[in-house]
C-alpha cells in the first residue's frame, strides 16, 4: 500500500473515532430501535378446545352437544349478547375492554388433518395440507429478512420446525445464562481465536466454525443485554410464566430480535376436560396479563404484537369421557396496542353446519393471518415467505 493511500485510509478510520460515542449511540437508536416491531408467538399445543374458550352462550346447540362439558351461562364472562369467555380468561377480559385484543374466530385450512403432529406441522410450515416442507414460515422469514443470528429466538431448549429456514435457523434458548455458560468455555474460544476466514461458509467444517463463533457472540450478547434489565413484574410461577418473563426481559432490554416463540402444552383434553382446560387457560391468561403489563411499564407494548394459536380446535360434540376429540377450526388471539379491529373480528362458527365428522367448517385460512402480520407488522414481502399469495385481513 502506498503512503498516500495509507494516510487517506487511516485518516478516514480515525475520523470515526472522533464522533462522540453518544452521537453514534443516538444514530443507532434512530435507525433501528424506534418503531422496532416485534412479534411474539404463543403456541397452545395439543389442540385447545376453542368452543369452551370463546363460548356461544346463547346457542342451544352448544349446550345440547355438551351436556356435561358446557360452561354454565352464569359463569361465562360475557363479551356481548352472544359470546363470552371461559371463566379462566378473566385477565383477557381486561385486555378486551381496553381494545388490546382481537379474537379471530373459525380459523383453519382446507382439508383439515386431525393428527397433532401433522396439523401442527401445517401451522408451522404454512403449507397446504397435502404438502410437506422442511422449513417453517418464520425460518423462511429469517432466510429472507433475518439480519442477525439472533433475529428470532425460541424460548425453549430446542427449535420448532416453524423456526427453521432453508438456510438459516433461529436460536433456541430457555435460559440465556445456561446457554452462555455452555458456550463460554475458553477451550472453544482458543480453538478459533476469533479468526474470521472469509471462506468459512464455503465448506461444511467452515460452516461449523462460523456457527460456533456466531453462537458464542450471540449467547454473550443475549445474556449480557438481557441482564441489564430486571423486571419488577410478578409472573405466575410455572414454566409458561417463566417463558413469558424471559421474553419480556429480552424485549425490554432492547434485544435486536424480531420474533419470539413460546409455547404452552397439554391441551389434548380427551378425558375430563373441564379441570385441565381451566388450569391451562388460567396459566395462559395470567402470564399474558403479566407480560402485557411488563411491556407497558417499559413502553414496549406498542411495538409488540402477540399471536396465539393452537393446531386445531376440538369436536363440537363431547365424547364419552367428559372430554373432546380432535377437531378442526379454532380461534386465534391477536394482542397489541394499536389494533385496527378490536374485539371480535368475525362471527363465531356455525354449529349446525358441520362437516362429516361433526367438526366446524373453517372460514379464515390461518395463512391470511400470517400474510397480514408479515406484510403489515414485520413489513416484509409475505409472498416471499409463504411462497404464495394470500388475501389479507385488517386487524392491524
Amino acid at each position: 500500500m502506498d503512503r498516500r493511500k495509507f494516510l487517506k485510509q487511516s485518516s478516514l478510520a480515525s475520523s470515526l473515532f472522533f464522533v462522540p460515542s453518544f452521537v453514534r449511540a443516538f444514530e443507532e437508536v434512530a435507525s433501528s430501535k424506534l418503531g422496532y416491531k416485534r412479534l411474539v408467538i404463543i403456541q397452545l399445543s395439543g389442540g385447545n378446545d376453542g368452543l369452551n374458550t370463546i363460548i356461544p352462550y346463547r346457542n342451544d346447540l352448544y349446550y345440547k352437544e355438551r351436556p356435561t362439558l358446557s360452561i354454565a351461562k352464569t359463569d361465562i364472562i360475557k363479551l356481548n349478547d352472544e359470546v363470552g369467555l371461559n371463566p379462566s380468561l378473566q385477565p383477557l377480559k381486561a385486555l378486551y375492554d381496553k381494545g388490546y385484543l382481537s379474537i379471530i374466530n373459525n380459523v383453519g385450512y382446507p382439508n383439515p388433518v386431525r393428527s397433532h403432529f401433522r396439523s401442527m406441522d401445517i401451522w408451522q410450515t404454512a403449507t397446504d395440507s397435502n404438502e410437506f416442507s422442511q422449513s417453517g414460515w418464520l425460518g423462511r422469514y429469517l432466510d429472507n429478512y433475518g439480519k442477525l443470528p439472533y433475529s428470532a429466538i425460541e424460548i425453549d431448549e430446542s427449535l420448532s420446525l416453524a423456526m427453521k429456514g432453508e438456510k438459516v435457523n433461529a436460536i433456541a434458548t430457555q435460559d440465556p445464562k445456561v446457554f452462555y455458560n455452555l458456550s463460554k468455555d475458553p477451550y472453544f474460544k482458543n480453538i478459533h481465536n476469533h479468526q474470521t476466514d472469509a471462506h468459512l461458509n464455503e465448506h461444511n467444517l467452515g460452516y461449523l466454525y462460523k456457527s460456533m463463533i456466531d453462537a458464542q457472540s450471540s449467547s454473550k450478547y443475549i445474556f449480557e443485554t438481557s441482564k441489564t434489565v430486571t423486571s419488577l413484574q410478578e409472573y405466575p410461577n410455572n414454566k409458561f410464566g417463566k417463558q413469558m418473563k424471559t421474553t419480556a426481559q429480552f424485549i425490554n432490554s432492547g434485544l435486536d430480535t424480531k420474533v419470539f416463540y413460546t409455547s404452552l402444552g397439554g391441551f389434548d383434553t380427551h378425558v375430563n376436560q373441564l379441570n385441565t382446560q381451566k388450569r391451562l387457560l388460567s396459566q395462559y391468561a395470567n402470564a399474558v396479563e403479566a407480560f402485557v403489563q411488563d411491556l407497558k411499564d417499559n413502553n414496549t407494548f406498542k411495538d409488540t404484537l402477540i399471536l396465539t394459536f393452537s393446531e386445531f380446535g376440538r369436536r363440537v360434540k363431547q365424547n364419552a369421557s367428559a372430554g373432546t376429540d380432535h377437531g378442526t377450526a379454532n380461534n386465534v388471539f391477536v394482542i397489541g396496542e394499536n389494533l385496527k379491529k378490536q374485539g371480535l373480528y368475525n362471527n363465531m362458527a356455525s354449529l349446525n353446519n358441520l362437516d362429516d365428522n361433526g367438526d366446524l367448517k373453517f372460514e379464515i385460512d390461518f395463512r391470511t393471518i400470517y400474510a397480514t402480520v408479515l406484510d403489515k407488522w414485520l413489513e416484509v414481502d409475505d409472498k416471499k415467505v409463504l411462497n404464495k399469495s394470500f388475501s389479507q385481513l385488517d386487524f392491524i
Partner: protein
C-alpha cells in the same frame, strides 16, 4: 486396503472403527474389506422389546374400537414406555451390532420411508421391515412398506376407500418414496390412489385387504390403462428410470457427499435400474474409486445419531436414566421414532444451529468426562486436574448420569501413540488455529486428549 480408506468406509457405512479392528482389516484388499461388510450383514436380527403384555391383551379381540376404554388407555401407557425402550435398544444396537451395514441402511431407510405410530406393536414391526429389506430388492421393499400397519395409518391408506378416496399415500409414494417432486401429475395421484384402496390391517398389525373398499375398475396411470392393483402401480413407477435416479441421488447424499455429482449418480442409477437390487447398488458404490476421493472424506456433518453412537463406539457409555438419552436426541434435533413429518429430517447443515453446535461441542465432555476439558498448558503443573474434575462433576454431573467404560477405550487404543490419536478420532485435518492451541496444551493422557479432540468442530465431521 489403505487405512485411511477403511476408516472412511466405516465412518460412512457404520459409526467409525476401533484401531484394533483397523489393524486386522488393513492387511486385506479393498474387495475383501467391502465383501466382509456384506457377509457380516447377511443375517437380519430383528430389534425387539418385550411386547407380550399388549399382545396378550390383543389376543381374542377383533379391533381396537371394541376395546374397553380402560384397556385402551392401559395399552397406550405401556406403548409409550415401550417406545422409549425401543429407542434406547435401537441406539445400543447401532453401537455394538456386527451387522453394521444393514443397521446403517436401516437408519437411512427410516428417513426415507418415514413413518411414526404410537403403537409399539406396529412401529416395531415397521422398523423390522426396514431392517429386513434394507439390502434387498427395492420393489419388494416398497410393496412391503405400503402394506405395513403403521404406514397405512400414517398416510391414511386405511381411510382410502372406493367410496371416499384418500390420496395421501399415493402422493407421498411418488413425491417422497420413489420419483421425487414434479415427475407425476395430479391426475396420476388420483388414479393411483384408487389402486391402493382396500389396504388395511388387523389389530395384531397384519396386512388385510378389504375387498369391499377396493376400487374395482380401470385406472389410467402414466399413460397406461387397466384394472391396476397397488402392486401394479409400484411396477409402473419402477419402470421409470427417474425412480432409480431419485433413490441413487438420496443414497449418494447420505453416504457420499451433500453435493450431487451427476456422473456418479448416473452410474449408480444404471446399476440400480437393472434389477433394483439394493445390495448390488451399495457394492458398486463402495467399490468405486470416487467413493474414496479426497473431497468425500471427512466432509459430511454427522447426524445427531451418528454423533451420539460415534461416542459410544469409542467409549461405551450407558445412560442410567434412559429418558436422558431421548432428551439429548431431542435437543440435538433427531429423536429416533419421532420424525418431524413424512419428509423426514433434512440433514446436512440443517442439523446445526447456535444451540446444537454449542451442545455438540460440550456433550462429549459432559457425557464421558464429568464436563471437564483439560486446558493445562505445556510446561504448566497440572496438579489440580482432579479437583477441577470433582468440581465439574458436582456442578454439571447431575445433568447426565452415565456410566462410561474408559478401559475399553484404553484397551483398543493401546497400540496407538498418543500423538496419533487424532487420526483415529477425527475424519478431517484440524484447522491451523485449533492445532496450534492443541500443540500448546499438555498431553495429559490419552483420555484427556481424546476429550479435547472430541470437543472440536472437526469431531462433527465424518
Amino acid at each position: 486396503m489403505k487405512r485411511k480408506h477403511i476408516q472412511h468406509l466405516h465412518r460412512r457405512v457404520g459409526f467409525g472403527i476401533l484401531p484394533t479392528d483397523l489393524d486386522k482389516l488393513s492387511k486385506k484388499s479393498q474387495k475383501e474389506v467391502v465383501n466382509s461388510l456384506f457377509s457380516s450383514s447377511k443375517n437380519v436380527t430383528p430389534l425387539e422389546v418385550d411386547t407380550s403384555e399388549i399382545k396378550n391383551m390383543f389376543s381374542g379381540m377383533m379391533n381396537l374400537s371394541k376395546l374397553e376404554q380402560d384397556a385402551r388407555r392401559k395399552i397406550q401407557k405401556i406403548s409409550r414406555q415401550k417406545q422409549i425402550e425401543l429407542n434406547v435398544a435401537w441406539i445400543d444396537r447401532l453401537a455394538v451390532s456386527k451387522e453394521i451395514l444393514r443397521e446403517k441402511m436401516t437408519l437411512f431407510w427410516a428417513n426415507h420411508f418415514v413413518c411414526e405410530d404410537n403403537s409399539i406393536i406396529y412401529i416395531q414391526q415397521f422398523n423390522n421391515t426396514l431392517r429386513t429389506h434394507a439390502l434387498g430388492n427395492f420393489k419388494d421393499f416398497v410393496n412391503a412398506v405400503s402394506k405395513e400397519a403403521a404406514m397405512t395409518k400414517y398416510l391414511n391408506t386405511k381411510q382410502n376407500r372406493k367410496q371416499k378416496p384418500n390420496e395421501n399415500f399415493a402422493r407421498e409414494l411418488m413425491e417422497l418414496f420413489t420419483l421425487g417432486e414434479g415427475h407425476y401429475t395430479e391426475e396420476d395421484i388420483k388414479e393411483s390412489a384408487k389402486a391402493f384402496t382396500g389396504y388395511s390391517h388387523n389389530l395384531q398389525g397384519k396386512f388385510v385387504f378389504r375387498k369391499r373398499a377396493y376400487h374395482e375398475g380401470e385406472k389410467t396411470f402414466f399413460g397406461k390403462t387397466g384394472n391396476f392393483s397397488g402392486e401394479d402401480i409400484v411396477d409402473i413407477i419402477l419402470e421409470k428410470k427417474q425412480c432409480a435416479k431419485y433413490i441413487c441421488g438420496k443414497i449418494y447424499r447420505y453416504f457420499v457427499n451433500d453435493t450431487i455429482d451427476e456422473t456418479h449418480v448416473n452410474a449408480m442409477a444404471n446399476v440400480f435400474y437393472k434389477d433394483y437390487n439394493i445390495e448390488s447398488l451399495m457394492r458398486f458404490m463402495l467399490m468405486s474409486d470416487w467413493f474414496y476421493d479426497e473431497k468425500n472424506i471427512g466432509t459430511k456433518i454427522k447426524s445427531p445419531i451418528e454423533f451420539i453412537v460415534g461416542i459410544k463406539t469409542l467409549v461405551p457409555t450407558e445412560f442410567k436414566n434412559p429418558k436422558q438419552l431421548l432428551y439429548i436426541q431431542k435437543i440435538l434435533g433427531q429423536k429416533l421414532l419421532d420424525p418431524p413429518n413424512v419428509a423426514g429430517w433434512k440433514g446436512g447443515r440443517s442439523w446445526i444451529d447456535s444451540n446444537t453446535i454449542v451442545l455438540r461441542l460440550k456433550l462429549p465432555s459432559l457425557l464421558i468426562n464429568g464436563a471437564y476439558i483439560s486446558k493445562a498448558e505445556e510446561g504448566q503443573e497440572n496438579v489440580d486436574a482432579e479437583s477441577k474434575k470433582a468440581f465439574f462433576k458436582k456442578k454439571y454431573g447431575r445433568w447426565f448420569k452415565t456410566e462410561t467404560d474408559w478401559f475399553y477405550f484404553v484397551k483398543h487404543f493401546k497400540k496407538v501413540a498418543l500423538e496419533d490419536l487424532d487420526k483415529h478420532i477425527l475424519a478431517c485435518e484440524i484447522n491451523n488455529t485449533a492445532k496450534a492451541y492443541l500443540d500448546a496444551l499438555q498431553k495429559v493422557s490419552k483420555q484427556e486428549y481424546c476429550i479435547q479432540l472430541m470437543s472440536l468442530p472437526e469431531y462433527q465431521m465424518c
